[in-house]
């Protein structure tokens, strides 16, 4: 199959998918009890005041009319303004995207070589002391949830030893990134490394690697692409998870990223911000999956 045509078709199919997500989020927020007016009314939740705010924000209009107005704005590239702060949604989303993208990007950049390194090292010495040690360590670490690891690391390195800033409040400097990126890396490195290891063991025993060795070719270049195929789909889910903003990690390290913004917008029932985020998440999911499928196609051309 022609890969370019396939990609174009997939992208075209992504548009209705994203639209579908936007509709779904709109309906789901509508189904939640309370709305932005309640939040804005703050400490004096008297019904008349809430009603007044509702009228000001146009929240008393029927559901379909509000959705139509939002969709019309979208076609002009206008995502609307936050019901709570009044700032444009595009600005809010972009501001939150920057720190999340830095964290996610760095994590993936380190994740790929690290998991290949660990997976291949274990596979080359299958059953050895190194392999068993790596297996034990990765199983144990994989079982530690992010928030627990984050708190331990902050306590040890951020507070007790005070080697690294405990939060990202002072801006995402290199030293402030060390702890959150470490926390984000640990579990994916363990799981991806395990996948690379088992695939590599199979591939190293395969007739085509033996054939390459007989011919004096570098076996590593012959084995690696085949061993990566199973890891690619797993990596996709990891990237998607990272780009969604890992709420717990952002909360512990006080990083003003997408996760925190999302949690806040849900709490405030700030529908335009939620919609903006939903569009972004849907689009990244579609894109990341497309890239993964293209990579998978290249890594397993028979399928």
């Amino acid at each position: 199959m022609n890969l370019t045509r396939y990609a174009a078709r997939r992208l075209a199919a992504g548009v209705p998918q994203i639209a579908g997500v936007a509709c779904l989020v709109f309906v789901m927020v509508e189904a939640l009890p309370g709305d932005a007016a309640v939040t804005l009314a703050g400490d004096q939740p008297d019904p008349a005041r809430i009603e007044r705010i509702r009228a000001e924000l146009g929240l008393n209009r029927p559901f379909a009319e509000r959705f139509a107005a939002w969709a019309a704005g979208l076609t002009r590239g206008d995502l609307g303004v936050s019901l709570v702060s009044g700032r444009p949604v595009a600005g809010i989303v972009l501001d939150a995207l920057a720190p999340t993208a830095v964290l996610a990007g760095l994590t993936v950049l380190l994740l790929v070589p690290l998991s290949i390194l660990l997976g291949v090292a274990a596979a080359l010495r299958e059953g050895s002391r190194l392999d068993r040690a790596l297996t034990a360590a990765s199983t144990a670490l994989y079982a530690v949830p992010e928030f627990a690891l984050a708190i331990v690391l902050v306590t040890v390195f951020g507070v007790t030893l005070a080697w690294l800033p405990p939060t990202g409040l002072g801006g995402l400097t290199a030293s402030a990134l060390v702890l959150p990126v470490t926390v984000l890396l640990v579990r994916p490195v363990c799981s991806t490394g395990r996948l690379v290891r088992s695939a590599m063991i199979d591939v190293l025993a395969s007739p085509y690697v033996r054939h390459a060795r007989r011919l004096g070719l570098g076996w590593f270049a012959h084995a690696l692409p085949n061993a990566l195929a199973p890891a690619v789909q797993h990596l996709t889910r990891t990237v998607d998870w990272l780009l969604g903003g890992v709420i717990v990690v952002e909360a512990v390290f006080v990083v003003p990223g997408l996760g925190g913004t999302l949690a806040e917008a849900v709490g405030h029932r700030d529908l335009p911000v939620l919609q903006g985020l939903a569009l972004l998440f849907a689009a990244t999911t579609v894109l990341v999956n497309l890239l993964a499928d293209v990579a998978a196609f290249r890594l397993a051309p028979r399928a």
């Binding site: 085509y208 054939h211 007989r214 692409p225 085949n226 890594l299």
Partner: protein
């Protein structure tokens, strides 16, 4: 060049090679012949210092003055190995040109030269293909090209011509015995062995049964006599005049409007050169791939062009693939996979299907012990029979066999052909070997470049071929075979 002295290879419970010795001077050809499972491949791999996992090896092997042990295999490239299943040694992820250039760079040789010698196209578009986009015969010649590129002093070739038609076979055979290279040939193709080998070693159950330069012409022992004399006994067909399966104007990327019918109980052979579209045609008919134009009808009822079929239709038309071993899951016992057909397609209970599988495999000469093994521990011929058993468990009306005799020794080949003629099915035999097909087929259809070029009763096509391609396929020096 090669000295093998009292080689014995055993795995727990079984002796694979028992006290085998032979020598081969440089630039000469030695053939190892014998039934599947006689220890040919184990002996051949020992020349590369490779042994089955957990094997006990005694004896001494010297190649080009170098003592070969598992710890000290011959230098890369000096002993070229062409395995029986070429698809397994081709890296599925790398374009064929990439690998060829890597080998050429490593050994300082030229890719176009090797492609020419292996009778493969040199176009860029061909080199950009992946191995799975090649036909079985092309894959085999690609592995030959790999081996030639490494500039070997010894080539060990395990059935190097099984996927090749008569024309390519002769060309490939000529390239194998190129000047200065010693060749160890493992083959069931006794005509090829006669043509190439100066020395023949007949193996039976891991032992040397007979050896010498003229074993095939004047066999002394009973086993060698049986091997040379084996020919199938063809039972008469029970043919009915109504077509059970018809193909009309079938078109795909490879096929250009093929029309063909087969009557109930008939044996039809579809013959053509490597890459002519035979396998594509078979896969369309079996419901394993989609087609773009035309129709396939079973009992007059059209089957969907998407290739998606009901279980009943799938059961009625069964396919035995060319690369039988690759069609098995390497991690499950063969009998379980064979039995699965009956469970999936006929709704048998698993215990009943298992008994059925054991019985069918036994009727094809595969013991219970063998049936319980993993697919990797079956020889080429055994996996082919297991694949046949798997198809038969569906109780098909139409059985399509793709190169079913490729890689079988003459005795086993005759047995398999006998078995096929005894089955109460409509048989479609896909083969590059026209004389072999003519031995059991009622009718022969010749496919060339995706079109049907000749079609008629088997003896007519064999005796008076009208198309030049058919004439070439009949073979340049075909002696009349006893029917």
């Amino acid at each position: 060049m090669i000295e093998v002295d009292r080689l014995t290879v055993s795995v727990p419970g079984r002796i694979l090679v028992d006290d085998v010795s032979f020598t081969l001077p440089a630039a000469q050809t030695l053939a190892l012949v014998g039934a599947s499972g006689s220890g040919k491949t184990t002996t051949a791999l020992a020349l590369l210092g490779e042994h089955p996992a957990g094997a006990r090896v005694t004896g001494r092997i010297t190649v080009a003055g170098h003592r070969v042990t598992p710890g000290r295999p011959p230098a890369p490239g000096t002993v070229g190995f062409i395995p029986q299943h070429p698809s397994a040694v081709l890296n599925p992820v790398l374009r064929i040109g990439t690998v060829l250039r890597q080998i050429a760079a490593r050994h300082g040789t030229s890719v176009p030269d090797a492609l020419r010698r292996a009778r493969l196209p040199e176009e860029r578009s061909f080199l950009r293909r992946f191995p799975h986009q090649l036909s079985g015969g092309q894959q085999q010649r690609l592995v030959l090209a790999h081996t030639l590129l490494a500039g070997p002093s010894v080539i060990v070739a395990d059935e190097p011509t099984t996927g090749q038609d008569a024309i390519t076979r002769a060309e490939v055979a000529a390239e194998l015995v190129s000047p200065g290279v010693a060749v160890v040939l493992l083959s069931h193709d006794l005509d090829l062995v006669r043509e190439l080998a100066g020395q023949v070693v007949v193996l039976k159950d891991g032992r040397v049964a007979e050896s010498g330069p003229a074993v095939l012409d004047t066999p002394r022992g009973a086993y060698a006599k049986a091997l040379v004399g084996a020919r199938p006994h063809v039972a008469a067909t029970r043919m009915e005049p109504h077509p059970i399966l018809t193909v009309a104007d079938l078109g795909t990327e490879v096929l250009r409007g093929v029309s063909l019918g087969v009557a109930r109980g008939e044996r039809l052979a579809v013959v053509g050169r490597s890459g002519s579209g035979k396998t594509t045609l078979a896969r369309c008919v079996a419901g394993l791939r989609a087609w773009t134009s035309g129709s396939v009808r079973l009992d007059g009822r059209p089957l969907p062009p998407s290739g998606r079929r009901s279980r009943a239709d799938l059961a009625r038309v069964q396919y035995v693939p060319q690369d039988a071993r690759a069609s098995f899951d390497p991690r499950r016992a063969v009998v379980e996979q064979v039995a699965r057909t009956a469970v999936r397609l006929r709704g048998s209970t698993p215990p009943a299907a298992r008994e059925d599988a054991f019985a069918t495999m036994a009727s094809l000469g595969l013991s219970r012990e063998l049936a319980r093994r993993l697919p990797g521990r079956l020889s080429g011929g055994e996996s082919q029979r297991a694949a046949l058993a798997r198809a038969l468990l569906a109780r098909p009306d139409v059985l399509i066999c793709d190169e079913i005799t490729s890689g079988l020794d003459p005795i086993t080949e005759a047995e398999v052909l006998d078995l096929l003629t005894e089955l109460d099915v409509t048989l479609i035999l896909i083969s590059h070997d026209l004389p072999m097909a003519a031995r059991i087929a009622d009718r022969i259809a010749v496919v060339h470049e995706g079109s049907l070029i000749e079609h008629g009763p088997a003896d007519q096509v064999l005796r008076t071929p009208s198309h030049p391609v058919t004439r070439a396929l009949v073979g340049p020096a075909e002696e009349p075979r006893p029917f």
